[in-house]
Symmetry: C2
Subunit: 536 residues, 2 copies
């Protein structure tokens, strides 16, 4: 949002002015257009701005089923790009895909005490396997078709996959087992928001089994690294890798690691998690193996996942008051060509030029693949058409009319920049397309990293901490300081204070400094700082 991207001058020290707040729209943007494509702006109402970007970019919409969304083609194409890229990374690290049942017998949930506590409260329960006429012209679940044991629609699959692994694992020779599943899961959420929190969502869940604790821990950290590399490299979304505190762990895990990203409203987003499950699930499900020395041992397991929530993170990292802004590596189209003509004669000149341009651009490689180009020749007013692609976040737009063809020059507009497009020779544009996309990808990352850094502070006293997380403005309760690194000891005192401030401890960063200090909540000694923020 403007407050992060435009309001803070480069190098300005946000820590020194935690009370800085949102500044008016940057003047360059105002000159370019009288109003923004998205109403309201981020500054005016961030949550509503988010919904409007989702709508304007044609990403998703609410469905007739409460809490479930319809992912529209443009949104799904982004998810497909996320999937394919992550899938390649999983396979490169030795994992194979498989598929396990949608349903989990209720008794499976009962096996791991913490796990059931975490998931029983929000699940879809299947109790019947047939409908029958209700005698009033409608239908009802057939009483004669009541299941002996209810089935749960998977909220996550540790239990059903663990039961399968117990059959697969006999000897140390069967290990490691490195499995991933792409699937839908259901968690019955009462307050939902598209992509960020929906009752049904799409995700991948990795599940692995190892002979030793060390190997399982290494796997957990490796997949955290994969997630971080993906988030920063493909999504252009800087993240902090860290370990969750006990209270924030996955139900049943020994250790949970996450990547945490900073959104434009200064709230953090947990964008991926990797869990070291120790022997908790293998003991609950009897995943045992004969070791090389002949002993029967419980195996060590991990699980890790990211979901369609990433699309929400993508939006809130880069979108602006004109709509979505896509990093080229995940954009369904890199370039959209918009033919401009007033009559059939002009059309006969312009269209072939555009098709040839598309052809030449598509022959270029970016990120190991052909450049993705669309020609939009729909019968729509030029302005409407252009703004549709602006709102959808396509990295580059090129309008092509007879004058551009005559002059041999194009004026490609970059979605990541509000500067007036410069003229460039047609062949030069084609020849430099990969370099331009690389530059856009980097500029998005740099901008997001600068925005995060600008609201990141170290805090060493409780009053400062309280001030940092107290809203400056009652009408925008979500706006606050940002991201604070503080020494802490997980304690009831801390918990109470965080609850009052609606702040959370996101993680203990793995790459943070390790200078010891004193907990700001209790004064006790603390080995490392944690990261605190309000969060989605």
């Amino acid at each position: 949002m403007s407050g992060l991207f435009d309001g803070l001058a480069a190098g300005e020290d946000a820590a020194a002015r935690p009370d800085c707040h949102l500044t008016p729209h940057a003047s360059s943007l105002i000159l370019r257009m009288p109003r923004t494509a998205i109403t309201p702006t981020r500054e005016e109402n961030y949550p509503e701005w988010y919904q409007q970007v989702v709508k304007a970019a044609d990403l998703a919409e609410t469905s007739d089923v409460r809490g479930c969304m319809v992912i529209k083609p443009w949104g799904y194409a982004i998810w497909e790009n996320i999937q394919r890229r992550l899938d390649d990374m999983f396979k490169a690290t030795g994992h194979e895909n498989a598929y396990f049942p949608l349903f989990i017998p209720m008794s499976f949930l009962e096996k791991e005490a913490e796990h059931v506590e975490g998931f029983a409260k929000e699940c879809a329960v299947v109790t019947h396997h047939r409908l029958e006429p209700d005698g009033q012209g409608g239908l009802q679940p057939a009483p004669s078709a009541k299941l002996e044991e209810p089935l749960i629609v998977r909220p996550t699959s540790e239990t059903i996959i663990g039961a399968t692994f117990a059959r697969w694992v006999q000897s140390y020779r069967d290990l490691p087992i490195l499995i991933n599943q792409w699937a839908n899961v259901v968690r019955w959420e009462l307050r939902t928001r598209m992509f960020l929190r929906t009752a049904e969502f799409l995700w991948q869940e990795g599940h692995t089994v190892h002979a030793t604790r060390e190997e399982a821990e290494q796997e957990t950290r490796q997949m955290l690294d994969v997630y971080a590399e993906f988030a920063e490299g493909a999504m252009a979304m800087p993240v902090i890798k860290g370990e969750k505190t006990a209270g924030e762990r996955f139900p049943g895990a020994v250790a949970t690691y996450s990547i945490e990203a900073m959104m434009q409203d200064r709230k953090a987003l947990q964008a991926g998690t990797s869990h070291f499950l120790g022997q908790n699930f293998s003991k609950a499900q009897e995943i045992k193996f004969q070791s090389e020395s002949g002993d029967l041992e419980y195996a060590w397991t991990t699980s890790w996942g990211v979901s369609t929530r990433l699309v929400g993170g993508l939006i809130m990292s880069h979108a602006d008051d004109d709509g979505l802004v896509l990093p080229p590596k995940l954009a369904p189209a890199h370039v959209v060509i918009l033919p401009i003509y007033r009559n059939d004669d002009e059309r006969a000149e312009v269209l072939p030029f555009c098709e040839q341009l598309k052809c030449d651009l598509s022959a270029q490689q970016y990120d190991g693949q052909p450049v993705r180009v669309r020609v939009d020749d729909r019968d729509l007013r030029g302005g409407d058409k252009k703004w549709q692609w602006v709102k959808r976040g396509v990295p580059l737009r090129v309008e092509v009319g007879p004058r551009d063809i005559a002059g041999g020059q194009l004026m490609p507009a970059r979605r990541d920049s509000s500067e007036k497009p410069a003229k460039i020779a047609r062949d030069q544009f084609v020849a430099t397309i990969a370099a331009t996309l690389t530059e856009i990808q980097q500029s998005l990352f740099d901008r997001a990293a600068a925005a995060r850094d600008a609201v990141t502070v170290k805090i060493d006293s409780l009053p400062e901490f309280e001030k940092f997380f107290t809203p400056k403005n009652a009408e925008q309760p979500e706006i606050h300081g940002g991201l604070a690194y503080c020494h802490f000891v997980d304690s009831p005192e801390m918990e109470a204070k965080l609850k009052a401030l609606k702040a959370t401890v996101r993680c203990v960063p793995l790459d943070g400094d390790d200078e010891p200090g004193k907990c700001i909540f209790t004064g006790q000694p603390s080995a490392r700082r944690g990261v605190f923020a309000k969060a989605y």
Copy 2:
């Protein structure tokens, strides 16, 4: 099975000997090995042979949830290849992917009378959204969390997608809408068989909306053609394209088309369907648009799908008594290299040779992609290792030992042939790999087509028809004549006769001859022959 592939000499006229039955194991096979890798053989017990192939090839296994299977990595990799290839074909014909909710409100099913009749009998019904302790140490669906309206786990998505389309479609300018979804669906089946009929299965469902009847009919036929092209081109599985009779139509459709394949036990498999839904669903769901002339009209819709059932069809088209046989285009690995050595010195010579061979083979292109090669250096007895890959159906196996390296020659074994492998120079093997794979792909198709043709007859009298479909042997009730083309009129007489014989009318072929004749059941005039067979 032997009866089809080995028992009938080339050119032998099965129609002339409908009583031909299974012959003993072909002698060439017997010479090669004392027993088959799969027990029982197809001849001994076809249904059990099928289950054993699924198990031996590590494709899938039953899960802890009744009727649901676990798709194991090798089986899922085949499905991924099916998916990716079909997805490319869908996109090439202008379709986009999207995602719609897993759940369907019960009231949606009530809207289309035939549709509810078809699906209400076998669906998973969600009635609660929370579990709670039952007071006896277990869990129960929380009575306070009972849903006002039950939700159905989608058995197919016409109703929920149609409700969405009703919002998307306003004007003729919004049409056509060409959408596909990759998803899981649930139909509560009582008798299940892996891949062929499971309570949960994976599939794709295409859903399209058109302004005119003609366009929707064209779409329906286009997708049938896509399925046929995929089945024959990629799966090497010959199919008959045809229209279903009224009784076999998709519930709510105006016309249903299918591709029908012939399995080795002479039973037909419906491998894909494409439905012209007319205005039935658009009227039930108010999918209306303003036409160019300004009138408000109901749209015309289609739907079409294939599922993980295709993997079952793949198995039953090509697998033999040694296990799976994969067509190269869908094989997760084209070549497996098996290093053979007795000590560390030999290992130091053999392994680098194998890795270089893999590297050189992978640099070759087959079917537009790099050749897929694995080196299996697991610490297993050579024989076990080799037979694992035989059972998994990899098209080519190459054992490499010091003598092969010294001689500069390899002996690649083709999975589709029981002939003794011939020696071939290493570089020649690499240079011809694509040609060899092309040849294997074609040989599988030819073999399956010959097997089908060998059991395909024209029948023009009822006694002949009855004889054809009467089991020859009480212990193998599924073995019968095969596939019969007959003149027919859809009638109660026909229905009763088919029921008695456990035969079905598969479809009226689109490419069949159109010589008129007389219905064999009623004597009434008939314009075209239908295809009759027992079926999965």
